[in-house]
Symmetry: C7
Subunit: 94 residues, 7 copies
């Protein structure tokens, strides 16, 4: 069973925040804030969204930082995923 | 008696959330949240919506995930349906 | 005395909700919710609305489902009508 | 002294609601609601409004139904008038 | 010292509401409401505003009716003026 | 150290409101309201802002009236400045 | 590990506000307000954002003033960064 995002949406899975490592990225604020780094699981086809051509520059496997509170959460095989619009992705982590 | 959605709207029927299966998709949060996976029953013709050409990429029979809270609920022969805009469909499940 | 809707507006008359029939469409929720199926009494000419060309695809005599809360109610010869925009019509019932 | 509406605006005068006649249009709700049928007293020239060309299809002398709460009220020679945009006129009554 | 309005703005001075004359325009509501008839003192040059070409049709010396609550009030030599956008002017009084 | 405004922004410094002079412009309302006349210290280059070409017509040295509450305040060498968009400037005072 | 901002976004690091120096820029208001001067660490590629071509004029190493409350904060190696859109940058400090 696979989830295929539509239009300019991407399916991401939040990484566990590594709060103790010195070289890991940890979100600002308390340790209980929702982590913002995620792995890209699937990418929509892009195309015309709201009357504008959208090209997808995010790729499956990218590690991304997204806006807090953006997207819709779903559960698959007991794990949580989020569907966000590509424009809600702020940066790629390399 | 049939319902023909207009413009970029589609008629969907929510599936019962299978909360116990390990391979089924279950929405995040408590078991009482409204399920988000639905079967597409009918699809509007698309065309010019808000001055922009909309092409329908959702097909009758698709299983889809929609935004929570989107759409209008109606009852037909004792069963509940929802009418949503195609742009409220986040992903197709295969 | 006749009412001629302007631009992309249509004049509709809500049907009485048949709450007991098994094959009738009944709105979800309590029996006291406002019915959403209506008969189309008159249709505006369409044309340029908000700078965009609007073509009328709703016809007089259509039975339609509209968004709740949309439109303006008026009374004519003791009966209630509603004026809605064509874009507030979700589906045609056949 | 005359009032010349600008752009896509029209000057209207509300008719007294004839609450007792059976063939008159009376607004839904209590008898104390503001009447919505008005006589058109003057019509603006139309032209470019918000960057879009607007053609005036309402004419002086028309009897019109407007959205409740729309427009600005003014008093002239002791009588109340309202200035509304043409797009706030829902229908013409003939 | 002169004030030159910019873009599509005009400088107006509210007339004293003549509340007792029978032929004067008096705003609806209580006598304490802000008067809406004003003399035009200066007119901006128009031009491109928000990416759209705006032509000024209001002239210095016009008597105008404006939307309530629109504009910014300033004081010059002890007298109060208001700066409004031309699109906030509803009608010209002649 | 200099501040160079970007895009359609300008750096202004509020003049002290001369509340006692008869020929000075004093803002309406109580003497404690924020003054609205300012000296233009620096002007951004204009260019494409929100997809629209913006030409700067405000010049360094202009005395301007701005909307209340617009802009962002900063402190430089102990003095307060404000950065506003050119479109927030209502008028030039000469 | 590097963070690559996407589209019209830039990665900035807030400077410590030097509240005691006479030549330093200190934000208006109390000493506890969030500082607004930041060093630009990385700049996105620009391109089509919301259907409009955006050219990046901010460069890595620029010192910039941003709108308060704009952007998303992240933590990297124990230090706090912010990701903002280029249009949230008000001015460059030289």
């Amino acid at each position: 069973m696979t989830i295929k995002p539509l239009a300019d949406r991407i399916l991401i899975k939040m990484e566990e925040a590594e709060e103790t490592t010195k070289s890991g990225i940890v979100l600002a604020g308390s340790a209980k804030e929702k982590p913002q780094i995620a792995q890209v699981i699937a990418v929509g086809p892009g195309g015309v969204v709201d009357g504008k051509e959208v090209e997808m520059y995010i790729k499956t496997g990218d590690r991304v930082i997204t806006s807090k509170y953006s997207g819709t959460e779903i559960k698959l095989d007991g794990e949580e995923y989020t569907i966000v619009r590509q424009s809600d992705v702020l940066a790629v982590v390399e």
